[in-house]
């Protein structure tokens, strides 16, 4: 099992999917000759040629719009949007065609495509390069939304997304791309879109996070367990929509307390939806208000202060303490 960082494991997933299925093609700005600004598509042009590795002109809406058309003819396009902030440009084609074509053609034209895009803060980037707006897509019927948290699950999740018969938004935590390496099995692992992963079992409180927020969450967990003697259960959501409500409900029904962590804005964010579901299905087990540790409802700040905006282990620990203290 080779050690890989997430950039490499995503590249591996693309490579193996393109190798296995010649309908898979990739497209986006600077993804061919340049191998992508984060080098996720490096080397694929040389292997699969211009027809399947397509450097597109600079227009996100048309990237998604044409990918939908290509999918309708039977291809499986994986379109990259260079930064998730620029999915706004493609909102029209995402909401109006990508998410709808199966339904509006009454099943005749499914859209088995993937929109890959790096999201989130933490790399000292300029304006519009640190957004986390997965909630927009969760609120959009017809899409699936998944977010890996590490090299290993990134590879399997991307593989699953590419092989999914429906359109998938694949958010890549760019802060994790080169953050660490981990063992990645030679063969792709089966992973089901729609399933969360309990990464640590515990009995005192449930911590729910995903993507780049798994790292501060796990860091906080370590402290909580080691220094504060709190037996934390940690869930990596992985699939934002559909969501593995059952796993969340089971966990919180057991622990009675919960903290949810994400970096996107709070208002109508993913945490709100999780709370609504826990309210519906674990109400009688809740011993304290579910706590949200999220980004604020402000624009992502300039990078000198981004670390203060982003949820960090300390804030998570505070929230856990507060939630545990609730009587």
């Amino acid at each position: 099992m080779p050690q890989m960082n997430m950039a490499e494991s995503l590249n591996l997933a693309l490579d193996e999917c393109m190798n296995a299925d010649e309908r898979v093609c990739i497209m986006g700005e600077d993804i061919a000759v340049n191998g992508g600004v984060f080098r996720i598509t490096k080397g694929l042009l040389e292997k699969y040629g211009e027809d399947r590795v397509i450097d597109t002109p600079l227009a996100e809406n048309a990237i998604i719009g044409t990918a939908v058309g290509m999918a309708i003819t039977g291809l499986k396009p994986v379109a990259e949007i260079q930064f998730s902030g620029f999915t706004m440009q493609a909102f029209d084609q995402i909401e109006q065609n990508m998410a709808r074509y199966r339904n509006r053609s009454r099943g005749r034209y499914p859209v088995p495509m993937v929109l890959r895009t790096p999201y989130g803060g933490g790399i000292r980037a300029v304006e519009h390069h640190s957004e986390s707006r997965e909630a927009y897509w969760a609120h959009t019927p017809g899409l699936k939304v998944v977010i890996p948290s590490g090299p290993r699950n990134a590879r399997s999740l991307l593989n699953a997304a590419i092989n999914d018969p429906d359109p998938v938004i694949f958010y890549e935590p760019k802060a994790v791309y080169r953050a660490y390496r981990e063992d990645v099995p030679d063969e792709p692992e089966a992973i089901e879109i729609g399933k969360a992963q309990v990464v640590r079992t515990g009995s005192d409180i449930t911590l729910i996070a995903y993507g780049a927020m798994m790292r501060p969450t796990l860091e906080a967990t370590e402290d909580l367990v080691d220094l504060h003697n709190v037996d934390v259960e940690v869930i990596d959501l992985l699939s934002i929509s559909p969501m593995d409500t059952q796993t969340l409900v089971d966990s919180v029904s057991k622990t009675g307390r919960c903290v949810i962590v994400h970096e996107g804005p709070r208002n109508c964010g993913i945490a709100a939806e999780i709370i609504a579901r826990l309210n519906e299905k674990a109400f009688e087990h809740l011993e304290a208000p579910v706590n949200r540790v999220t980004g604020y409802d402000i624009h992502f700040p300039h990078f000198q202060v981004e670390q203060h905006y982003l949820p960090d282990p300390d804030t998570i620990i505070q929230a856990v303490k507060q939630t545990l203290a609730y009587e």
């Binding site: 399947r52 397509i54 002109p57 809406n61 058309g69």
Partner: protein
């Protein structure tokens, strides 16, 4: 019209004026490569060439450009004529149905029959068509059924079922949106090397949408096999095309993207067929996209919810009635002895019957099934949607009990 014969149209000769040459200054690929300057700017100016205008039949039904008059067999002429009549009959009938409460808001196509039938005439069955909402005429030719169109405009999901053997996309209500999908389809077909082409249409208002410019660019860069047809019918709802653009005409819009273009008299079926034939052939030969501006007129309402009296004069409509595409073609066919008054009446009656028969089938089929609204969301409905579906079905059950 029997479906299997639709796509066996006659090869059109002579061919269209050579548009690629005439606007070649725009479509010439770069020849200067580094280390020389990428763009040579040492000449005092760049000549832009010209855009051909194409009209073959003038408004009196006379041949104004004999060099381009297509040599079509009589049967072919009648098939085309009939398709235009059928489109108009459907239009008229649906308007009546709408006024009588049997039809939802819809967008009549009256006056655009030549543009409609001409734009898909050269297509084969394997080709694709990605229309806007005002496209009955073309859709009927492509194999969509009368009852299907009536269903969908009356709010039944079943109207969106794409008939077997038809490759087309369902029309799009979102202005300009279908053009991006169409471009993607063309890019996909090209990669699958099956030599099929795509036609997409949009209005004089739609061309203001950025996505159409983006699509032009993608198609040009990819040399995708697609023909873009702008049906300039003079209005986008209340907005006259003169206020929609600062340019004098729309045909120039694609040139800056390297896509050759032509302006066609959209009320002249022969010009439409010849122009489209040339453009489709170009696409099929792998020479990339073409753009046509078809100059026509929306003789009727924008939609049945619209009152055009607020924004246009009756005299303008009257004027355009004298340019009616059907009347014009009729005169031509009569002059050529291909059509008699009796034949005209016979075809009119047949088409009316066909529409009424379609309406009968529509009435039989017009049963809304509220239970299916979850069924085409995903290949497999996720657990959370299964729950919502159950909740929804319970609600329906409750309503039925209540009633």
């Amino acid at each position: 019209m029997p479906k299997d014969t639709i796509h066996q149209t006659q090869k059109v000769t002579p061919s269209a004026p050579e548009i690629a040459v005439k606007s070649s200054q725009f479509s010439r690929r770069p020849t200067i490569t580094p280390p020389k300057p990428r763009r040579d700017i040492s000449t005092p100016s760049i000549a832009l060439g010209e855009i051909p205008n194409l009209q073959i039949l003038n408004e009196k039904g006379e041949v104004s450009d004999p060099a381009h008059e297509p040599k079509l067999e009589s049967a072919e002429h009648l098939k085309i004529y009939r398709a235009m009549i059928l489109a108009r009959k459907l239009d008229t009938r649906m308007l009546t149905m709408q006024r009588q409460g049997e039809m939802g808001t819809f967008a009549p196509g009256m006056g655009q029959e030549a543009t409609q039938v001409g734009q898909i005439y050269p297509l084969l069955q394997k080709d694709w068509f990605s229309p806007s909402y005002r496209s009955f005429g073309a859709q009927l030719w492509r194999g969509w059924t009368i009852e299907g169109l009536m269903l969908l405009w009356n709010g039944y999901a079943d109207g969106f079922n794409i008939p077997d053997g038809v490759n087309d996309l369902p029309f799009s209500i979102v202005i300009g949106s279908q053009v991006a999908t169409a471009t993607g389809v063309a890019m996909g077909l090209k990669r699958q090397k099956d030599n099929a082409v795509v036609v997409t249409n949009f209005g004089d208002g739609a061309i203001s949408q950025g996505i159409i410019g983006e699509s032009f660019n993608f198609a040009a860069v990819d040399k995708a096999p697609i023909v873009f047809v702008c049906e300039n019918n003079g209005y986008a709802i209340s907005m006259p095309v003169q206020k929609q653009t600062g340019a004098d005409f729309l045909a120039g819009r694609s040139l800056g993207y390297g896509i050759p273009s032509m302006r066609v008299d959209g009320n002249d079926i022969l010009a439409m067929i010849v122009a489209m034939n040339g453009a489709v052939d170009r696409a099929r030969r792998g020479e990339g996209p073409t753009f046509l501006e078809a100059v026509t007129y929306r003789m009727s309402l924008h939609t049945t919810a619209d009152d055009p009296k607020v924004y246009r004069k009756d005299e303008e409509v009257e004027y355009w009635k004298t340019r009616c595409p059907i009347a014009r073609y009729e005169k031509y066919l009569i002059n050529k002895d291909l059509l008699s008054i009796e034949a005209i009446e016979k075809i009119a009656t047949e088409c009316e019957q066909e529409v009424l028969a379609g309406r009968e089938r529509f009435r039989e089929l017009a049963k809304a099934n509220p239970r299916v609204v979850f069924d085409y969301m995903y290949q497999t409905l996720p657990a959370e949607l299964q729950e919502q579906k159950q909740e929804y079905l319970n609600k329906l059950d409750r309503k039925e009990t209540d009633q």
